[in-house]
């Protein structure tokens, strides 16, 4: 079979709704796009542990601390599921981490914002995990088997992440004026960046068409963003939060909440590395990766010694 015939067969399988598995033939562009997307997704889960870890030792109650630690541990697990999925495409984890640390691979820009007060934990869970759920539920239908399966597992775990965030916000909105102001401030900080998580508008997103043709994505950025907005605006009103968008209005015909213009200059500026915490996040990752070297060395020495002893 030549390349053209293989491509026709590959696209026929995709159109028939079949999943592509690691050892199946796939076009190089499909493999590359997936690898970039999955490794970027894995890095986001891992870097995303940092803004929340900032509050692990300062959570207001023991209950809140237990929940926060469980959530952070889940995010580390999500990173590992995704690194495994990416490894099925023929790149090992060490290589991906090296690319992250050298700035050659990206992670979600949202994690370059600081977490200055406890309400930020609420806003992250409710808005950032909420946006991630909308995106990941779509990705669970993607054509690449290992990625789709990782997404299913992740989606099951995300449910509590979003609810615990909304619970924090609801509690603060039922509190005193200072607590309400903190919650509103967190809403103001995280609303727009969470809308930007869905990526550029469809018209400005050159990869979207190919990705949708091969079902790496099954819905477009704007469609997913709108779904998130519709769900979230009502949740905000429900607990008395104001959405920081003076142009926000409800369109009765389309039944959509329509938003004002997104500040894409800010988005690209953070992507390019000029967000409030870009440098800090990477420096922290490198520092603790290197600090763990002796643990890895010891584990390997132990494993080798064990094999040696059994061989005797």
């Amino acid at each position: 079979m030549n390349e053209d015939q293989r491509l026709i067969q590959f696209e026929a399988r995709i159109n028939a709704g079949e999943k592509i598995e690691p050892k199946d033939w796939m076009p190089e562009a499909y493999r590359k796009t997936l690898l970039r997307q999955i490794s970027q997704h894995a890095h986001s889960e891992v870097i995303g542990m940092q803004p929340e870890a900032n509050w692990a030792l300062r959570a207001p109650t023991l209950r809140a601390k237990k929940i926060l630690l469980a959530k952070i541990q889940d995010e580390g697990g999500h990173g590992l599921y995704l690194y495994s999925a990416a490894e099925t495409l023929g790149v090992d984890r060490a290589e991906m981490i090296e690319q992250l640390q050298q700035g050659k691979a990206k992670y979600s820009s949202i994690f370059n914002y600081p977490t200055l007060n406890w309400a930020d934990m609420g806003a992250i869970g409710w808005l950032v995990d909420g946006a991630a759920i909308v995106n990941q539920t779509m990705l669970a239908k993607c054509s690449y088997g290992p990625y789709a399966r990782a997404m299913l597992r992740i989606c099951k775990e995300e449910g509590f992440h979003q609810r615990q965030g909304y619970e924090i916000m609801a509690k603060m909105m039922a509190g005193n004026d200072a607590q309400k102001a903190m919650a509103q401030d967190a809403m103001n900080c995280w609303w727009w960046p969470s809308l930007m998580m869905f990526g550029p508008h469809d018209a400005d997103s050159p990869h979207t068409k190919e990705s949708m043709q091969w079902k790496i994505k099954v819905e477009s950025n704007d469609k997913l963003r709108q779904r998130f907005i519709n769900r979230t605006v009502e949740q905000a009103y429900h607990i008395g939060l104001t959405v920081p968008d003076p142009k926000l209005k409800y369109n009765k015909e389309t039944m959509n909440w329509e938003i004002g213009p997104i500040n894409w200059d800010e988005f690209w500026n953070v992507v390019k590395g000029n967000g409030p915490c870009n440098h800090k996040r990477m420096a922290h990752h490198i520092k603790y990766h290197n600090k763990g070297q002796w643990v890895r060395d010891a584990a390997i020495a132990f494993a080798q010694n064990e094999t040696f002893v059994t061989a005797l």
Partner: protein, 97 residues
């Protein structure tokens, strides 16, 4: 052991959800030895009581079929529907069969 100094060997993880159920593939992990592989598998794949028993197998010990050879490989089974009970016509009125 590739990249031994940075990431350890890769293992595939199989979980038994409850006593008597089959072991099902959950995903993979990295670990330096069997004990660490079991502990990592527990931490990564069973945080919500997904199982009470685990297998870990070095990834390079697994052999797999490929989609391109699927038809040829499995077609010996395609034309043998006499292996299923519905192939057989029972006389009218037969019961318990």
């Amino acid at each position: 052991m590739e990249n031994a100094n940075t990431q350890f060997q890769q293992w595939e993880v199989f979980i038994q959800a409850k006593n008597g159920s089959p072991f099902e593939h959950a995903g993979s992990i990295h670990a330096a030895d069997k004990k660490m592989a079991l502990q990592n598998a527990r931490d990564i794949y069973t945080r919500r009581c997904e199982g009470r028993s685990l297998w870990v197998v070095p990834t390079n010990a697994i052999a797999a079929t490929v989609a391109e050879e699927e038809a040829e490989f499995f077609d010996p089974a395609d034309d043998k529907i006499y292996r299923t009970p519905n192939f057989y016509k029972m006389p009218k009125g037969t019961t318990n069969l």
